[in-house]
Symmetry: D2
Subunit: 253 residues, 4 copies
């Protein structure tokens, strides 16, 4: 079983009528619903308003893959929780960063840049998402491209470091492109950024978007889920001339 | 001075009336003409029909940056010339791979895949080229994007290994995207793939295309231009217990 | 089941008394023997002297992971077989490149450089192999480092392009270092270079070397094992102004 | 002229007799002294005890390359100053991270991991630093390796993300290896991590160490030194069906 935790700031759905109509139980519950068809997943949801934003040490330590949706309140996420999530990623927890979370504290923390984009446009235009690497597990079951009829546009330049892999690039009706599916590794943890998912369009009901999220949960799940950098026992046997020196080896923690 | 050699298979211009009208002196001479405004460049042109395709040992050994345009006759390029060009790239010669040369023997040789694309379409549609990294020297002087009014379309997936940098991504009017500006290093040499340049459209007269080619010549030029892997003198001083062993160190060549 | 094919040039073992004593049935059979403990593997061996060096279309098309050991006769491997192996890697076959095969035609073909090393020394010194990424599946079950008591030394600089991952770095008693475990992806295929394995030392009897080879067979095996770049059906729906143009889309093969 | 600012926490030199003997004016002034031979550099020094740790907005905005030495007091560096330095790196300021600053807040911030190492040993053993890429500008003028007679040892695994380039790997007398010269780009800025420089050994008097630091200042200096992601003017011309929609394009800041 893979323990999946879906985090949502859960603001728009409670304040904006249009968003509430599309996602009456919140985006987190919409994602939970389609993921539940996968019997290998054990899924929980948490929201920002909970204590520790729902991300207690206990909750995180049992989470294998964390899904993150945030937009309006990036700055209200407490730094100590960002620290905690980062630590778990380094230990091996997978992390899916969705849509506007390209500017979340946790994504920025892990990539080292601010994840800024050049522009956006919320007219509900067509997005066509191209697969750059059809052999990638995250693209499994997709055609060469898939489409979202109505989406918000994001435009390059996207301020990110060199990704480990570029899985998707989006084409927008209005004339822009965007790197929409990007893999990073940090410590033991795998991170996947996936662009689609604006709150005013029913993007998470799209079957191909669902397939990508499901694939990436499996991809991001790691068998190694503890700090391997720490856990490895180091028993140094000194070599050569150093064998006669007083050994002053210090294990870092 | 940077010695630039422009290589062109030079077939379409001599056989196709339309192409001949656009590039009466060949694509190589069109590129030469606009590069000549740059007084730091010393420019020669060669074509496939010459002995050794114009790429003799002498010519290559004095070339700092080689520009490659080929389309119809990739397979007619002799393997021994491909070997020779590869060797010079490893020594530090820069290489610009233009347009359809994504399937040339030399590009494939250097990247290790076949550089295939999913599809192409020659209807003269609009291409909008987005800058992914505005800080890159090759993007110097460009806006966030530039446009080519009429171009051939290339579509992802583009079968390439992870590039060292992604500088440009193209948007096409018909609905496709393509990674259009890609950097690779091999040995001492720098390689830049730049997509635009179909023979039936006057792409090389576009001032921004010219700017990119000019920028990339400077970027690909390297001060280190010899086989540094070989030139470094190795004087091993054995250490520890090995000091008493008979030294059997062999320098590889 | 994973179909593994072990390729060996199989020359030293037949010509050199010392090597024959260590590997009486050839290095390929030594590797086969320890891999056979893994019941998920279905293992075959082939050698250079066979027709097509044992790498017929039929044999390769059923191989999931190919292991390659060569040293003395790199240049005697026919180019058409190198082409064939490369094509299968692009389709998704995994490839393990062992020891001196850093200079094999097939490795050079896939990485684009010549894979040269600065020097080597065959005195049977101690090699200590450090794990750079303890979270990597190939390092599974290893400590922070492991040792080979007697090995041939290889020295940096190692002329390779930026690897996708650096799993191991070797320390040698005589004072050198070498990147000993490197991952590359090309097309659908995964490639792992693993340094140890000189024919005059019993390296393939070392249990940690065996563990690494076993781990990397599993890592290199891919569920996607056909040319996904080709297999994806492309059904372009033209968009915008192009909808009224005569469609001239050509699928590349 | 390149404006270089050398930052030192400047604690050991004032508190430890041995360190004070080696670096009576502080490590920052030792580095300043040898860099001053280079007439293209305009060099300033600042220390942690100054207001804003010496890194005021004014000072940073005029700095082209910042050199960072810290060890004992990483956690005393104020977060707002780390934010400020990161912002300047994204704008294009170069950054050299020396020795124990692998665990500084600013390095961790930019790479996204904690930069931990497996172990260290302070016995003053020999370090031999191998050049992995002799064509790299930072290795300019070096032989295949150089040595430091007495240094502190650092050991792999080094918890870092995939570097853009690996320039150096260290061999230690006691049996360890370490990736000692690593390049990263973040936004417009270039970052170089260089391992040597323990305060109890006279490492910064070593002429090859000095050469590397000098080379890397030039490498890290960038002509683009402002937020190119922001500065690019975006003038979107809508295309196709979107031409009739009310344009709701928002430029991100």
């Amino acid at each position: 079983m893979i323990n999946v935790t879906i985090w949502n700031e859960y603001i728009w759905e409670q304040q904006d009528e249009l968003v509430n109509k599309i996602y009456p139980n919140g985006i987190h519950n919409c994602i939970k619903e389609f993921l539940e068809k996968d019997k290998e997943l054990n899924i929980a949801t948490v929201t920002m308003e909970e204590k520790d934003h729902g991300l207690t040490e206990a909750k995180l330590s049992e989470t294998n893959v964390l899904i993150w949706w945030g937009h309006r309140a990036h700055n209200e996420v407490e730094d100590k929780i960002v620290d905690r999530v980062q630590r778990r990623v380094l230990e091996g927890m997978g992390l899916l960063i969705l849509h506007s979370a390209h500017e979340s504290k946790i994504f920025s923390r892990l990539i080292g840049t601010n994840g800024s984009i050049a522009s956006y446009r919320e007219t509900g235009e067509k997005e066509r998402i191209w697969v750059c690497n059809p052999a990638h597990p995250i693209a499994n079951g997709l055609n060469t491209y898939f489409e979202i009829e109505k989406e918000e546009m994001y435009s390059e330049p996207f301020q990110i470091p060199l990704p480990d892999e570029t899985v998707f690039i989006s084409w927008f009706e209005g004339g822009e492109v965007f790197r929409s599916g990007l893999c990073y590794r940090r410590g033991n943890g795998k991170i996947f950024y996936f662009r689609p998912g604006h709150q005013t369009f029913p993007v998470y009901y799209n079957s191909e978007v669902q397939k990508v999220i499901s694939n990436s949960v499996h991809w991001a799940n790691s068998e190694i889920n503890s700090d391997s950098w720490k856990d490895n026992k180091i028993e140094i046997s000194f070599i050569g001339i150093l064998q006669v020196l007083p050994a002053v080896l210090v294990l870092h923690d």
